[in-house]
Assembly symmetry: C2
Homo-oligomer: 491 residues x 2
């Protein structure tokens, strides 16, 4: 166990925070609630971006960029949106500083007050639909399939690195369609892209479903989400896709002439995924030794460490190590040879375990004699000695195995921690003692949902797409229910 | 000539603006001075990002992300920096909105006033050096070679799409070093990366040089710039690299223990390149037909257009076109087959010329009979008929030729418009009538520089690295001068 990490089972929250700091992923900045994403954390975000961007483009989307600022009045145009987003936000009121007449630095120039305040975007539906108004006249201008990579700000009171920060990075897709059917299809397509990404790249099993009305995006007709289970038994919403109906088109008066010549409002979707996913990656897979990164998102996939007593040995080992490195790189892997003489091998082993590098290779004098290398996999910490010549074929297979093993482990954990519950006592006890996902009946009312939340802090994470019809009674009110929904405490 | 474009020679500024709008690169937004970068414009930015990012990583840099907000007091810490940057900027003073008690939308909640105002970053030296303070103790922690891709805001009063906008996208590199020599080396390395990028990707010849003191970055010891000449005879600063000395380390108290155990302040550089470069790309190469994009930065490199009278012909042509498309794509090119039946070939020709697509292929019934295709290159508008089977080899060579021809043309223009001038009358006349780059003697004083600017609007663009020593007399004051410097009116 990495001794500078808090034990995961003793204090999960502290373990998480320690790990983010010690693995050099991010740290708090001088600005309340805003983090600095350090190079290693940002490299993971770059991997996430590259894969998602490829998937978005493969499904016909293009990128664009809209302003950081949103005029205050835009928020009031969509009635529900304003309730959800125009509250805790960063507000620009002035555009000039001047020298303090008392000689102490600079002060806000009171004469440079904006006529209308500008809000730093918490999400961009309003500014984007205000632009789409000028882009759309006819069905020929549709669909518009745009994504934006950017920063957004929500003035959160209690923040945690990656999980909840005032400023965060994300992508937000905003599409415009001629028909309801097409927009719904897009909403489904994108939640599927997210779940594909979560499961096949992040090695994170997710449950896809509808949000209940009270958990929906402010301004959406329907919100689909993917929900993942963290190792402390709490849920994390890992991506959302919203069917916005004609709400924003009506708010910004975006009409088009359809194929029959009739004027109609445009149909919309939006969908987003953020740097929060790095938090999910940590909380789902990491252990007391540090990060466990799925190979497909690991900035560094293989590290090679020489074990030597003198420079003669180091020279021989370096020759072999650089050959192995070149072979692995030719096979498409990202490899580092760490021959720094400032740190001992043991220190390096612990450091790369902390950083979650999927495969570590050690080469010592005996390996040179025997033509072997020692391979350690991060996920199971198992070691194995293999012939130097079979390094590439062996590690290629190993990478795929690590990727699927991390997923399988997370899936097993989730299966073991997903329970059907039919009594309120069991529901409360389970949440207190074990956590996890709970499949239970709910009467469908917002009142019941709110009371359950008040009494247990558990919320409806989603109504799973694949939740079968089943007669039952609401866990709280006893009223009839047609299907179970997914409850959990969540991040 | 694209008839909806203003003629470039009649009204250059209007031609530029028309082109940005009509080619769908960008448009003004509802927020004063902020633009919307549309998908085609953003696709060019993505190409620029990809190449630069590769070059930064090849020179040892990594990416990270620092907060959007900078506490107001940070600006006062570096005396010159505050003069340059903490003036026209966006200032966040509040963090909450509330419902208007009069029922009209939302208003700023006066009780949610920040203790210290936050400035939207105009550049990030201060917030970054405040972080570096915690990252650097010893020479072992150096160098730090970090780049950031982000948005910045400078409250410009007069804005122009891409060239000068309140919010813009850019990259900013911020490096920390143990010695002055190493930092100077880095400053030089990065201006060379920029000039390599400008010349070999943007096909934009640039002059590298030092900025005069008054044109330096606020807080820098030395600023190196690359300067390019636009087709209207005005200069455009296309990238800058700053040697910051120990100024920011002193302002933020960033000291380190050097190899000898002595405590010293850290040496710094910063360097940036922005979406302004898209403006340069347009103004340097475009013509009355539209954009002329260098193949290396063109989002779409080849477009194939079928010429047909009936669906039978279209089917035959499509078969051949898709084969050519697949072959070109296999050779690494980005190709589109535009078989939309909503527009005539002539309309498509004009549209892809407007968009600056380097190569257009037309295939008609006669081509099918003869096994040929018609190739038109955007830069010269020349057409040529070649055998279908030699499409890949022919177009590969053509692409390289277009790239170098665009550069050569811009270089010839610059050479023709770079003049040595030795009298004040010639200097003034030349600026009034021809514009262009002027190499002239200057006495080295800020007063003279300021007066020349007042009287002619020309500034010292740079003191070229390769400007030879040469005795002469200042064009304005007649005082002695040791070398010529580069004057021009500029964007």
């Amino acid at each position: 166990m990495a001794k500078f990490l808090t034990n995961r089972d003793e204090n999960y929250a502290q373990w998480y925070n320690d790990l983010v700091i010690k693995a050099e992923l991010a740290e708090n900045s001088a600005v309340r609630g805003c983090m600095v994403i350090k190079p290693y954390g940002y490299a993971i975000w770059e991997k996430i971006q590259a894969e998602l961007d490829r998937m978005f483009k493969a499904t016909g989307h293009v990128n664009a960029y809209f302003p950081l600022f949103i005029p205050k009045s835009f928020f009031s145009k969509e009635a529900k949106h304003v309730e959800g987003f125009a509250k805790e936000c960063a507000i620009v009121t002035h555009y000039r500083l001047k020298n303090d007449p008392n000689g102490k630095g600079v002060i806000v120039d009171p004469s440079a007050k904006l006529e209308e305040e500008l809000i730093i975007r918490p999400t961009s539906e309003t500014i984007i639909w205000n632009s789409y108004k000028n882009w759309i006249q006819s069905y020929r201008d549709l669909p518009i399939l745009i994504n934006q990579w950017c920063n957004v700000v929500r003035w959160e009171m209690r923040t945690r690195l990656f999980l909840r920060t005032a400023e965060f990075l994300w992508q937000e897709g905003h599409t415009a369609h001629a028909t309801r059917e097409e927009a719904v299809e897009e909403t489904v397509r994108m939640i599927n892209v997210y779940s594909d990404f979560a499961e096949n790249y992040m090695a994170l099993p997710v449950i896809k479903g509808y949000k209940s009305e009270s958990e929906r995006f402010a301004g959406a007709i329907d919100t689909y989400a993917i929900e993942a289970l963290m190792q402390d038994g709490k849920a994390l919403q890992a991506g959302t896709s919203h069917f916005l109906g004609q709400n924003f088109a009506k708010a910004f008066d975006v009409q088009f002439t359809d194929r029959t010549g009739k004027l109609d409002y445009v149909w919309a979707t939006s969908w987003g995924l953020s740097t929060r996913m790095i938090g999910a990656l940590i909380m789902a897979h990491a252990d007391n030794h540090g990060l466990v990164l799925p190979p497909k998102l690991a900035p560094l996939q293989v590290v090679i460490i020489p074990i030597y007593k003198n420079t003669g040995q180091l020279e021989e080992i370096s020759g072999a190590a650089l050959k192995v490195k070149a072979d692995l790189e030719a096979a498409g892997m990202t490899v580092k040879y760490d021959d720094r003489d400032t740190n001992k091998p043991g220190w390096k082993f612990a450091d790369y375990e902390l950083k979650g590098v999927p495969v570590r290779i050690a080469i010592g004098p005996r390996d040179i004699e025997q033509g072997t290398i020692e391979i350690a996999r991060r996920d199971t910490l198992e070691k194995q000695t293999v012939g130097m010549n079979s390094a590439v074929s062996h590690i290629s297979v190993l990478m795929a195995d690590i990727q699927s093993n991390i997923y399988r482990k997370a899936l097993e954990f989730r299966d073991q921690n997903t329970r059907k519950v039919d009594s309120w006592t069991d529901f409360v006890n389970l949440l207190e003692n074990e956590g996890g996902f709970i499949m239970a009946h709910w009467d469908g009312s917002a009142e019941t949902e709110e009371k359950i939340k008040e009494e247990t802090k558990a919320t409806i994470r989603c109504i799973p797409f694949d939740s079968p019809e089943e007669d039952g009674k609401c866990i709280y009110s006893g009223k009839p229910s047609k299907r179970r929904v997914l409850f959990a405490r969540s991040y």
